[in-house]
């Protein structure tokens, strides 16, 4: 089936609205992807027909809701090729998934242990580990980055040693779009007995990720990056690792038996799913994966690569432009600056022209410090964007340059 972007755009109602009197051009997909009609329908249908609490009711609605929620978990398991459905913990998002693991290791790590975090991480994959190190006395080591926007793999090999317990790296950098060599990072960590958590929030919208092929110990992402709703995400963990960790939060659903003397915990995945979950969100997460799979992630990757190449060539024509991580393997993200202009000013003018980009440090201040810049302008593309939209951004950038210089 040929890739028909105009047909795909019909699935996204929001792409047909106006912003500041102009047709919306949405290039902030790395922050959140837009929601197609089948996903919106899944949420509406759930509340219109099935809404009930799951896992505990004897009545029909509760059973239907439970089945739909567990069916979504199985879709997620199949999509990411986990061995068991119970290795998929549904969380409120990537951040909660990371905090769940960080909190679990607080009772396992010892003073003198080492954890490695890459210099390219989102703050949500830095701060929980700093907090973990403060609690446990473990040492935080930073895997440095290079000028071209990739990780320093030679330094990585030197950082790893018998004291290394955990390694945290994003699969794709949110600020630059760089694809990191996670399979190699994981195998090298395993060689010294360390476990690896991969933040896949920026990879999963663009690639088919196979957690078994990667041999990831933990892999996390958010539904809203993959055309799903906000407030729901995935923590994948190998069953033996998840069993080793204490529960994250206490509450309903996560228990086997409660007395005031002692509570025993439920088995996976419920041990990590205290309280009533985001049921509609979980079901819609499943619908979002169905949607992207109906188009095909390979077709998506090919089309997005053509958008990135087109946009890179067009932007390179602009005076004074610097594109970060330009010549490395990356997803359809362009992080750039224009000489003498503050990213915030450029972003504000683009917004007035109906074009949504992100400006600032993208919650990755260490990268900005590395390049000694206050931030970048980030245009992140999705499979529903078009070359015509990129042309509009280039025209808007020319206008911004004229106004601001």
């Amino acid at each position: 089936m040929a890739f028909d972007v105009q047909k795909i755009r019909q699935d996204f109602p929001i792409l047909h609205r106006q912003v500041n009197g102009q047709e919306l051009v949405y290039f902030d997909n790395a922050a959140t992807a837009q929601t197609p009609q089948p996903v919106i329908d899944a949420i509406v249908d759930y509340y219109s027909t099935t809404n009930a609490n799951i896992h505990r009711g004897v009545h029909a609605l509760s059973q239907e809701a439970t089945e739909a929620y567990e069916a979504a978990r199985q879709k997620i398991q199949k999509h990411f090729n986990a061995v068991h459905p119970y290795e998929i913990i549904l969380t409120s998002g990537t951040t909660e998934a990371i905090n769940c693991i960080a909190s679990g290791y607080a009772s396992i790590l010892q003073p003198g242990d080492e954890v490695i975090v890459s210099a390219m991480e989102h703050h949500s994959n830095i701060v929980p580990w700093q907090m973990l190190c403060e609690k446990t006395g473990a040492q935080l080591k930073v895997l440095p980055m290079l000028q071209n926007g990739t990780l320093d793999m030679e330094a990585y090999a030197q950082l790893l040693n018998a004291r290394t317990q955990l390694v945290f790296v994003n699969h794709v950098s949110n600020a630059l779009g760089t694809v990191n060599p996670v399979a190699s990072i994981i195998s090298q960590a395993h060689a010294v007995g360390a476990k690896v958590l991969i933040d896949g929030a920026q990879a999963t919208p663009h690639y088919k990720v196979d957690v078994q092929a990667l041999a990831a110990d933990f892999y996390v992402t958010s539904a809203h990056k993959i055309c799903g709703p906000t407030g729901v995400g995935m923590l994948y963990g190998k069953a033996e690792h998840l069993r080793e960790l204490p529960p994250y939060q206490g509450g309903g659903e996560m228990i086997a038996e409660v007395t005031f003397e002692k509570t025993t915990y439920a088995d996976l995945p419920h041990k990590f799913e205290a309280g009533t979950p985001n049921i509609a969100g979980g079901i819609a997460f499943g619908a979002a994966l169905d949607y992207v799979n109906s188009i095909g992630l390979e077709a998506i990757a090919t089309y997005e690569a053509s958008l990135l190449a087109y946009a890179t060539a067009a932007l390179e024509q602009l005076p004074g432009i610097t594109i970060y991580a330009k010549d490395v393997e990356k997803v359809a993200v362009l992080s750039f600056n224009i000489e003498g202009l503050h990213p915030y000013d450029v972003g504000s003018i683009l917004d007035k022209m109906g074009i949504a980009v992100r400006t600032g440090h993208h919650c990755a201040q260490p990268i900005m410090d590395y390049y000694e810049i206050p931030g970048t302008i980030r245009a992140s593309f999705s499979f529903y964007n078009t070359k015509e939209e990129i042309d509009r951004m280039v025209e808007a950038l020319k206008k911004a340059i004229t106004m601001l210089q």
Binding site: H342, Y344, D345, S348, I349, K352, P374, L404
Partner: protein, 144 residues
């Protein structure tokens, strides 16, 4: 001119613009014409928190009036600062404390600013008023 007269003047000035692009162009021009802050006042202490761009604000008391100088690394933010300085610089601290700030709504500034920039604007006005409180207290303390 009094603070409220200056505010009226700015509201009039902005009423001539037909669209937001023209308002932005005007803000950018104002930003470019903002007098430079003395380098010794561009310190960490003088940075106002709450802006995506950096803002430095320095205040001094001269002849019982508060004099403001400021800078930013973003030009549209500098335009906002230029407006605030036009209104609040060389006024006495009590008048600054009494001043209303509804001109921001009247020139349609707030609705056209991103939430982060609107927060930054609120922080800037708050900081100006904090300086006014400090100077007011200083003037009311009998000199030794």
């Amino acid at each position: 001119m009094t603070i409220s007269e200056l505010q009226e003047e700015i509201v009039d000035e902005f009423s001539f613009f037909e669209d937001w692009m023209q308002r932005y162009e005007h803000m950018i021009e104002l930003g470019k014409s903002l007098p430079l802050i003395a380098p010794e006042f561009k310190t960490e202490d003088n940075i106002i928190k709450g802006c995506q761009s950096k803002v430095w604000l320095h205040a001094e008391l001269k002849d019982r009036k508060m004099e403001l100088t400021a800078d930013s690394d973003a030009i549209i933010t500098k335009g906002i600062i230029a407006l605030l300085i036009r209104i609040f610089s060389n006024q006495n601290p009590q008048d600054i404390l009494d001043a209303k700030t509804d001109f921001i709504d009247k020139i349609g500034l707030k609705e056209h600013l991103s939430p982060t920039r609107a927060n930054g604007l609120v922080s800037m006005i708050k900081q100006i008023k904090m300086y006014a409180i400090a100077f007011q207290a200083q003037m009311n303390t009998p000199s030794q």
